[in-house]
């Protein structure tokens, strides 16, 4: 069986040669124990020194990172902290379809008959358009329960980052940078919640 130093050389050679070099898979070549820990530490030292990957737009698109990068960029501007980057991921992790989540959220809030409005607000949460300060704890309690996370953690993630953009929030820019899928969702939504009569759903999402 090869030792950690030999496997490091092979790993580096594979990584720099552009081969698939999943560090965890390389660790699996050694049994649990000191030699495996040594290999992990050596690969860690190597990766911490690795230069930035040279920009390759095609490889970036193929990597599947683009949707995350888009959401992360929106999170830099949103009044809802990292919700745009995190909420879709939590929903995916919980394996809940968006429509099911909205139905459960509306039900938990006693707003089954206003599911379309809840849907609109939830969409604004996921796209960072809804200021998190206005969202009532009851919404976050219900959402947290559906997503398996605490309301406090959701609240914390919704805090905006400091030193934001000058002037008005670039809401129009969100629309410009939204993915095709988001645009389709948006087009299918009812009129903006703000244009409808203020009710208890508005209170829950904007008056908290």
């Amino acid at each position: 069986m090869a030792d950690a130093h030999t496997l490091l050389e092979q790993y580096i050679s594979a990584h720099r040669g552009g081969e698939e070099a999943d560090p965890a898979a390389w660790l699996d070549r050694l049994p649990d124990g000191g030699e495996r820990a040594k290999l992990a530490a050596l690969i860690d030292a190597y990766l911490s020194r690795a230069p930035m990957r040279e920009w390759d737009p095609d490889a970036f698109r193929a990597s599947g990172l683009a949707p995350f990068a888009e959401r992360a960029n929106l999170a830099l501007y949103s009044e809802a902290g990292s919700w745009p980057a995190v909420l879709p991921q939590l929903r995916e992790k919980a394996r809940i379809k968006r429509s099911d989540l909205v139905a459960r959220l509306a039900s938990a809030l006693g707003a089954q008959d206003k599911q379309a409005k809840v849907n609109g607000y939830y969409h604004e949460m996921e796209t960072g358009l809804l200021p998190s300060d206005g969202v009532d704890d009851r919404v976050l309690d219900a959402l947290g329960s559906i997503l398996g996370q605490s309301a406090e953690a959701l609240r914390s993630a919704g805090r905006a980052v400091g030193a934001g953009p000058q002037g008005a929030p670039p809401a129009a820019a969100f629309a410009r940078t939204a993915s095709d899928a988001q645009t389709e969702i948006e087009a299918s939504l009812p009129k903006a919640a703000a244009e409808q009569e203020w009710d208890e759903v508005d209170q829950l999402f904007r008056g908290g």
Binding site: A37, K38, L154
Partner: protein, 209 residues
């Protein structure tokens, strides 16, 4: 065309920037509210950091790699890097990786992407150090410390040899030329580094045993 005095750079020009300059550009784009410009910078930065962020896969279970990696990238993007060199940026990114891995191990059931770093806007390692966290302990961390010590015990020239020959995988002759030592010495220094590391880990294992 930029907005509010911010001068936008082209994708090709951005791709040539070192990490510290790229993140400084991103901060300027954000301050100017230029979502499109920051989007390009975010994409280049995230893609560029993927090798560094792969370190997460060495420290958390396979099923948590994506979650923790994304939390690292979000923290890098949301924090305000105060340094002015690639070296400082690397150290700062390394600190974020350690913190996020520790956050994961502190409570694996909680999604680490939701954990806010109280000093997320600060890049000062001393302030990072004040934050409560549970270190990821065990053999893995002992080995990381041993690698750091084995490397740190070398003088600057010998560290350069290790960087070039062991970690950058340069041929011994090229590493020797760049470091200003003989080719034979490159092999000796690399072997001493490996032997020292092995001894540190053996001593550590004997102490614990």
């Amino acid at each position: 065309m930029g907005s509010r005095g911010f001068k936008r750079k082209g994708e090709h020009e951005l791709a040539q920037l070192p990490e510290d300059k790229l993140i400084a550009y991103l901060a300027s784009a954000r301050t100017a509210g230029d979502v499109e410009a920051s989007g390009t910078a975010v994409a280049i930065l995230i893609y560029g950091l993927m090798d560094n962020v792969q370190r997460v896969a060495l420290k958390v279970p396979r099923e948590a790699v994506e979650e923790v990696s994304e939390s690292v990238l979000l923290s890098v993007l949301r924090s305000e890097f105060a340094g002015s060199s690639v070296g400082e940026f690397r150290k700062w990114t390394g600190t974020i990786i350690q913190r996020r891995v520790a956050d994961y191990h502190r409570d694996p059931k909680r999604d680490v992407r939701l954990v806010a770093l109280p000093t997320e806007h600060l890049g000062d390692e001393e302030i990072w150090g004040d934050e409560p966290s549970v270190e990821f302990e065990g053999e893995a961390v002992d080995a990381e410390r041993a690698v750091e010590q084995a490397y740190g015990d070398l003088n600057d020239k010998h560290q350069l040899v290790i960087d070039l020959y062991v970690f950058a995988d340069l041929p011994a002759r090229e590493a020797a030329e760049q470091a200003g030592v003989s080719e034979a010495n490159v092999h000796k220094i690399a072997q001493r580094f490996r032997d020292h590391l092995d001894k540190l880990l053996k001593d550590d294992s004997d102490t614990q045993g």
